[in-house]
């Protein structure tokens, strides 16, 4: 799960991670009154959407730039007015853009030096790892490749966490001295507390900055949380902004289905994440393009399967559907019943290829045969992939098949 910049700022304040002063607003009037209370000479006004590339983005009303530096409260208010309730298009949003509902106004900071600081849960060592570099504001993967000696890696003990001496080692490596050394060490320790207590997968501060007035700030950050741990972090779960997500993915998650929208025209419904990925791959292998990843899980109900078909058939790009089930926990007769119900309730007019194998496969096949639905069955995975690619290539555009 991702959160907005202003929400990351709120978490930073909660855990004592020093950052530039700022507030989030939803109206131009609020923008004016908030800015009047700030002390700096310049302010940054930033549109709050999850996508990157905001600075270079353009609003659909013609206003340019999702990030502006202003000098007065009036200016801040005008910029906020232009951004709020308008749609910002950046290279990451796609042409449909994102509606801006909130704007962050922060004190502008004079940067003297930029650094990189991240805490990740390292898979290989099964422990947190702090990564720090003097090369701030840059792509860390490139720094790691070109000059690995510039990167400091501090392994953290999984049971006792980051120790104060370790935060001092990191601050020292970054080159901080005196008061700033102490400030940076404290910031790193507090950032670790945030990582630990909020159960993050990753906290990336890029850049961490030393300001001209000598303060150490976490200026911009990317936080990602472990969705499996959100049940014990209500306040973080409340930060989820579903308007930032693909509506089909939101609808799927409401029914505990794992759905990810892709660009192709062959929809697939599969049980199990590995088999779902392999099904996408085999569609591509035989010359087709998968429209989605969909794992209905190990114990899907009839209702979930019906909902899954609704989501798949809502995608106007889709020309054919491949159902690939290898029953373990999942019983093939449940999938078959779900397919039959989906045909009844969603009026599926697309070609569908069904491949069932595993637990209760005979019962499932029998149900499908008796239903006399217009679907093709496949004997194995290769057969299924070839049939669905042929069906997608042969089919008319979706709008025509709906009319028929």
């Amino acid at each position: 799960m991702n959160i907005h910049e202003y929400q990351a700022k709120q978490l930073f304040e909660l855990f004592g991670v020093m950052t530039a002063k700022g507030s989030v607003v939803t109206t131009a009037e609020e923008a004016k009154s908030i800015t009047s209370g700030f002390l700096s000479k310049e302010f940054v006004v930033k549109a709050q959407i999850h996508a990157g590339g905001r600075g270079q983005g353009t609003f659909k009303n013609g206003f340019r730039g999702g990030v502006h530096v202003v000098k007065t409260a009036d200016e801040a208010s005008k910029i906020a007015e232009a951004m709020l309730q308008n749609t910002l298009v950046t290279h990451q949003t796609g042409p449909q853009g994102k509606l801006v509902g909130k704007v962050l106004i922060a004190e502008s900071v004079d940067i003297s030096q930029e650094y990189y600081l991240a805490i990740v849960l390292d898979r290989t060592s099964a422990a947190p790892l702090v990564i720090a570099s003097r090369e701030g504001g840059m792509d860390i993967e490139r720094v790691a490749q070109e000059s690995p000696e510039k990167i400091w890696k501090e392994p953290v003990h999984p049971l006792i966490g980051l120790q104060p001496y370790q935060s001092r080692n990191i601050a020292h490596h970054l080159g901080f001295r005196g008061k700033q050394f102490l400030a940076a060490s404290t910031l790193i320790l507090n950032l670790y507390r945030l990582f630990d207590q909020s159960e993050c997968m990753m906290v990336e501060v890029n850049p961490l900055v030393l300001t001209k007035s000598g303060e150490v700030f976490a200026l911009d950050a990317k936080l990602s949380f472990d969705e499996n741990a959100l049940f014990r972090h209500e306040s973080i779960e409340a930060m989820r902004d579903t308007s930032e997500e693909d509506p089909r993915e939101v609808a799927a998650s409401a029914f505990h289905l794992n759905y990810i929208a892709l660009e192709g025209d062959i929809a697939c419904l599969v049980n199990g994440a590995g088999l779902a990925m392999a099904t996408m791959d085999i569609i591509k292998h035989h010359g087709g393009e998968p429209a989605n990843f969909l794992d209905v899980g190990g114990g899907a109900t009839e209702e979930q399967v019906t909902e899954a078909f609704k989501i798949l058939t809502q995608d106007p790009k889709v020309k054919a559907i491949l159902v690939n089930i290898f029953g373990g926990i999942m019983h093939c007769d449940i999938i078959a019943q779900g397919i039959i119900n989906a045909f009844k309730t969603t009026k599926i007019s697309l070609p569908m290829i069904v491949r069932l194998e595993g637990t209760k496969v005979e019962e499932g096949k029998k149900l499908l045969q008796e239903s006399q639905l217009p679907l093709q069955t496949a004997s194995d995975l290769k057969d299924a992939a070839q049939k669905v690619v042929a069906a997608a290539h042969a089919s008319l555009p979706h709008s025509c098949s709906l009319i028929s």
Binding site: L121, R123, T124, A126, A127, P128, E141, H157, P158, L159, D196, E199, M201, D226, E227, N228, A229, F231, R232, N258, I260, L262, V270, N271, G272, A273, G274, L275, A276, M277, A278, T279, M280, D281, I282, I283, K284, H285, P290, F293, D295, G298, G299, F326, G327, G328, I329, E357, G358, T359, D380, L381, K382, A385
Partner: protein, 295 residues
Amino acid sequence: MSVLVDKNTRLLVQGITGKAGAFHARSCEEYGTNVVAGVTPGRGGEYFDHKIPIFDTVLEARKITGCNATMIFVPAPSAADAIVEAATAGLELIVCITEGIPVHDMMRVKGIFAESFQNPPILIGPNCPGIITPNQCKIGIMPGYIHKPGPVGVVSRSGTLTYEAVWQLTARGIGQSTCIGIGGDPIHGMTQMDALSLLNKDPKTEAIIMIGEIGGSEEEEAALWAKQYCDKPIVAFIAGVTAPEGRRMGHAGAIIQGSQGTAALKQEALRAAGIAVAPSSADIAETLITLLEKQ
């Protein structure tokens, strides 16, 4: 011989009275697994299906029944605790089926294993289908009937994709020595390399199928190990060639981060180690047959 589980395995089921726990405890027993005990806190003294004793704690179950392996179906919020309980009670093999365990919990489990045990128990999973030695012992949720005893060892990060590979083998008359699902979480117990090493040592295993997917670097590490130490032919398959960057593909551990963990990188590492890579999931068994014919 076989890997880790056989006719002599005495199985405990943690979470035996839950819906999934009960269903799969029965299915394992029907397959022939020796299910000797269950644990559900608060239900100690009762019997599961009128015959399998239920205990409040794993320690008590172990003392009374001599169970040496456990299958965990405890819900995700308490599953890490159940793993550590089983480990401290002295069980040698822990198979955790539970999906959705917080990753910080698993990090602490591994930390405790490393700190508190001279010889930590073997942990398979979590978020895995389990382990099976055909016709001897099934610990997990895989459909038993697709398996058949034979010479091929299988290790995989995915459940249903393993069934797919096993079914392709069985349909062609090729049996399996032991099949291990190591699970799809980013932090888990047995690794691909650990499994290869066990299968390499097993005299009943003549060839190995390794199924991986995007995310992490276990396949790359296993490839390096195999190049140097494995003397059995290996066929690999990697799922997720078409997966987009930065998305978790169902499994918490199946994610491409930056340029790391892509299917292409893994396939390259496997080929460089002399491992045959199946071009699609439908060709896993055929790739193995072709490889064995060449040798």
